[in-house]
Amino acid sequence: MQVSPKTVQGTVHNTDNQRSARPLSPRVSVYRWRGPMLASFAHRISGVVLVLFVPVYLCLLSGLTASAADFSDTINWMHSPLGRLLLWLIGSALIYHLVNGMRFILLDAGFSETREEMRGSARFSLAAGLAAVVLLAVYLW
């Protein structure tokens, strides 16, 4: 019996042209966000924020330790609207990253590994992050 060149052991192998014409099914644009996914993405974003603001920490550190005049200038800047906004962002990111980071460490160590515990701990981290955002805003303004 003659075997079609496209058919090997009953499996139809598609040509490269057919493959390349295939669309990729939608992914991030359609996938529903749930607690653990949100918690993980927020962890990455807060981590990036903390790293990007390293120059700000260094400026603050050098300003606060240079001279009496620099100290008071730096304190004044920290009380300005921009200073408060940056402190709010950094503080919120730090608290969320800390809480969720401890959650990840506990998960890595094998604690709270049931499905319900994973969902519950994600909700806890997100609630802690939200609380940090609100409480810091109240404190700073």
């Binding site: 295939r22 990729l24 099914s25 359609v30 996938y31 990840f104």
Partner: protein, 236 residues
Amino acid sequence: MDTVIQLEIYRFDPEQGGEPRMQSFEVPVNKPGMKLLDALNYIKWNLDGTLTYRRSCGEGVCGSDGMNINGVNGLACITPIAGLKQPIKVRPLPSMQVIRDLVVDTTHFFDQYRSVKPWLQAESPVPEHERLQTPDQRAELDGSYECILCGCCTTACPSWWWNGDRFLGPAALLQADRWIKDSRDEATGERLDDLEDAFKLYRCHQIMNCMEACPKGLNPTAAINHLKRTLLARKS
């Protein structure tokens, strides 16, 4: 419950080409406890015979009808219509090449499954009857042997969406863990060597979509964490 349900289904016809589109359908609720697969069957048999999807057992065992249902992956045959927000949006499993409508190319998914050598590897002589396990050793496999390879977990994973060429994904890693935990398997060292790679295993960022999507209630995230701990214990 409504007597008629609304669905929007992803359509792609390779012969006509063009962009994929969403098509609306109305389906009568013709039995209590109706599942999404019943609605797809109704469309195919009564409204539009060209609608294409995979299905076989119809009871959540074969893993053929994994699809994205209202944004979350699941099996159409065990997803009740009741409780789904309408219009029910039905799309193929995410981040896969679409062959037609809801049918995707699973070649890469199964290649990754094969790459973890999902079979018993043992060099010791085969006993007269069978390789025995204690009840406790057998219980170690609970939570991983039940996987039906539907692909719902792997195609729900953002790490796999973006690094699927090198990250093995939750389903293959769950199976890798299943064989590493098996007391009869004698290739644990080689299996761990194969996994010790920045991409194959460590692209998991605990997003946990796999755990949320698994229609069998399994937890691939926990299996991946167990693999990481096993590798760490081997080093220390």
